[in-house]
Symmetry: C3
Subunit: 189 residues, 3 copies
């Protein structure tokens, strides 16, 4: 019978298709590279230099044998390890109301040019955002933009992953810098 | 024919449904927030203070210019960086048989209140668990509970991700603290 | 009618199957443990010891109270924190052309045997690879092989996750070691 044959073909086709999509995922394929959330923030780092203890938001806590903890070391600050608790703002004004804190550390890690390595969290506790976003990665500062990883999150950012693009928005001697952070989250829960 | 029409409707319906579920995943949606594994541990940190080298499980290795490596610094220990190798136990008794080691570091990172930033691993090598769980995140210690990220794992915890909730179970001056860690894993392989 | 009953059974079967595969993912199940990318590299660490500033690729920047920043501390170097910018090569020859840089830090974290904790990036900028791979985890160095987590990536390694197996390929006193890194990526985008 025509119709029976048709139904069997249909059955076969359906089984193949469903079978394929229902099989264990092979994670190497077919992810959509479209962010599920986009955020832009600025954060402001004022490094302790012996004279600014009131305003400083960060301090050198480790240094190589040839350095100290008040002045950034020679050789492009290689080995200087800085702990920070920096205000996060929505625009590039240090005096805007902070919407959270950037907390963690960076270390200068190259002798011949400026590069750094960052691990830190954005910690939010406002009406707009509650929770944290955790970051880690290399920051080759001499590049206009640098990508680091969003390695996790909590609260509003539960289990998130993504990429954050850093760019230096301002730098004033060895004391102040301001980073712009474009956060693109590709896994949201 | 009735039945032919029915079969075509069926075909259409099936194609639509299968098509939708077979298309590239958009990762921003529809995750189940139910842990695939839950674990509870305690770990015990005994900080070196110049007099307890036998029992100490951690030591200050970085400090700001105004601090040293034997006594926690002023300003809520801002900038103190501590390396630890702490015993993990199943209950809150320091003298229980350890089931693993918590290894990594924390740093105090705020001048006006106590907050810290942690990156560490739980390392297991027993009949019950083999492998490691890796953590990172901000620990605003004054809160009763704090969430950090589980950023990866190996062995029994291969590729895992999740959230760990820290709570301070005991604290004795500047020398001893005990954390309870409620681990909720949301990605298991 | 036979055929009607058959079609209804088919409809039911299809609905069940499609329903199951189309429902929200429970992430705890059925992942394929087959790498989507495999890479092998070597990296070379030459520790500053007061006499090799020209060749050194790393330096002690934190140490416990009983140590200093020129000589690795007693008690299996417990507490020594080292920042590095190490060349990555494709084979085990220090003098091969580097294909990238390993940048980050490690700390020795156990008093009774050698163990370390690593957080770093592989940074590539060549015709072959552009981007970075970020790592974190415990390194119990006395084991022949040790697994750490690939916690993220950028550029060619956008959003990747996986496991990297470290093995000590050579060690020369306190100054030089070479690690082989077998990277197995299980999430590729």
């Amino acid at each position: 019978m025509e119709i029976t044959r048709f139904v069997f073909s249909l059955l076969f086709l359906v089984m193949m298709t469903v079978g394929a999509s229902g099989s264990p995922k092979h994670w190497g394929r077919k992810r959509v590279r479209e962010p599920c959330k986009k955020l832009v923030f600025y954060y402001h780092d004022i490094l302790y230099n012996g004279h600014n203890s009131k305003n400083a938001t960060s301090a050198i806590v480790g240094a190589p044998a040839w350095g100290n903890r008040t002045i950034l070391a020679g050789q492009n600050h290689f080995g200087d390890l800085v702990v920070f608790d920096d205000p996060i703002t929505l625009d590039n004004n240090l005096h805007s109301a902070p919407v959270g804190r950037a907390q963690g550390f960076y270390m200068y890690d190259k002798k011949d040019i400026f590069t750094a390595w960052f691990a830190f969290s954005f910690v939010f506790n406002s009406t707009q955002h509650k929770g944290s976003i955790n970051f880690a990665g290399a920051d080759p500062m001499m590049n206009k933009t640098r990508d680091i990883s969003v390695i996790g999150g909590t609260g509003d950012f539960f289990m998130t992953r993504g990429v954050a693009t850093l760019s230096t928005d301002a730098i004033e001697g060895d004391v102040y810098f301001r980073l712009r952070v474009d956060i693109n989250l590709f896994e949201c829960w």
